[in-house]
Assembly symmetry: C2
Homo-oligomer: 283 residues x 2
């Protein structure tokens, strides 16, 4: 038992995906592939002063925020009095999995503070289900739990889903221009998106390399008609410079490996692939 | 394609286990729980000069060694000309999973050098099967691939097994006195061992904490009649000092969390839980 605990959860960029809704949130999710980033979210949980829900605020970079997946984790763990403070350099709503990271970080840290004695799979399941129920994501949480370049073979929380990974840890570059509404895309007709995502997954499994991950992500965004004008323009310039880039699902964000964005004259944010997945950093 | 690549694989101490043989090595393995250590094995693979098997040596800390699981990985990946050089501070045969680490590190690094384009699951499966066939281990490889405090829920390589984890990252202390033959124990009657291991697993799942992992490991070694005299004496002294310790499966090695060995007057080796699991560090 401890008064306060902090967890780190990597950001997660999805390159391509297929949506698999299910009435049981532990079986709902996505197939697809992405990148766990060394840029992530530090989530600190402490007991609210009077231990009641009324007092259990959620903040992001010092500002109070409404974050339904965090509320869902509080509920699933039975810790209404968990005050949650998150810090991140990543923009919200831009395809970096910040909501999933806040949910998963809350689960890890609240488990320590409130001595819930849950296993890693149970914590990941709580965050995944809270995120699915809030409609803010379908696959970030399981990718963030694994780290690396996660491939989601089967949708769902750990007891139902299945993961693999691309065995490489390249340098990552990204440019974040703004938001795309995950809720809007996921609540629309996802049939074409899912066909394109399934095809990309089959092709990545045949040859799981970073270059292929970017190329298939670029193809997916085009086939699913999700590419924004700004990302389209970045991709065209990067390809003209001999590199490759793709769009983060779902945000107005371009990403690439190595120096592809820099080589095309951009001034991207640079980070690494996060190796470790999520976990406590102090308790 | 690259001339040389290096992977890091954490050491892995098993605290308790049950043995599950199967004619298909991908389905054979163990249930149980353990610790991935920040002390591990760096494995460098390069193309042997003339690209033939005759030239593809395996060394450990500069000395030529016979290491059948490494040979098994070469065969499964179709890379007879992979020269393997491993460096580790961990003793061989003492319950730290050095053979599994060499097999898994060879798989990761050879995949990069020889452009085999395999996924992480395929690399883990190759190393797991090679280790099972060599009789040198049943569960280290999948624990080393995951990192943290891995729980093996179901035996086997990633397509067949299932993993969970204890969500904590405590400081680790250990004292390595010498070798215990894994082959000898695994080739004997494992019925009593497996009953004790299954019971420990059920109890850990009910309350997956580091303290419980040590207590259940201590009980397991006693029930399976594997505790050595030296470890027995360390455990007694640590418990007299108010702490707890257990034995590494399979080695004449005592381990504990926090400062339990130091507090009892020992001068243990100290390391951390390895968070990241295995992977390339350079290519």
């Amino acid at each position: 038992m401890t008064d306060e605990a902090t967890a780190f959860v990597p950001g997660h960029v999805t390159g391509f995906f297929s949506a698999h809704p299910h009435e049981d949130p532990a079986r709902a999710g996505s197939r697809g592939a992405g990148i766990a980033l060394s840029h992530g979210v530090r989530v600190t949980v402490r007991r609210a002063d009077d231990g009641t829900e009324a007092d259990s605020e959620t903040t992001l970079n010092g500002e109070s925020v409404a974050m339904p997946p965090v509320g869902g984790v509080r509920e699933r763990l039975g810790v209404p009095g968990a005050a949650v403070d998150a810090e991140t350099p990543l923009p919200l709503g831009s395809g970096f999995g910040v909501s999933g990271a806040m949910a998963l970080g809350t689960a890890y840290a609240a488990n320590a503070v409130f001595d819930r004695r849950l296993s890693e799979n149970a914590l990941v399941a709580a965050a995944h289900c809270a995120e699915v129920e809030a409609g803010t994501g379908l696959g970030d949480v399981v990718g963030q739990a694994r780290g690396g370049l996660p491939i989601r073979l089967e949708p769902g929380a750990p007891d139902h889903g299945a993961m693999d990974g691309v065995p490489a840890r390249p340098r990552v570059e990204y440019l974040a221009f703004g938001e795309v509404s995950t809720e809007e895309v996921l609540s629309g007709d996802t049939a074409a998106l899912t066909r394109a995502g399934e095809r990309a997954l089959a092709d990545l499994r045949e040859r799981p390399t970073p270059d292929r991950l970017v190329a298939l992500s670029r193809r997916f965004a085009r086939e699913a008609e999700l590419t924004t004008d700004r990302v389209e323009s970045v991709v065209a310039n990067v390809r003209a410079a001999g590199g490759d880039a793709a769009m983060a699902m779902l945000g107005d964000t371009a990403f690439a490996f190595g120096t592809a964005l820099s080589d095309a004259g951009y001034d991207p944010v640079v980070c690494d692939v996060h190796r470790a997945g999520s976990g406590l950093v102090s308790e």
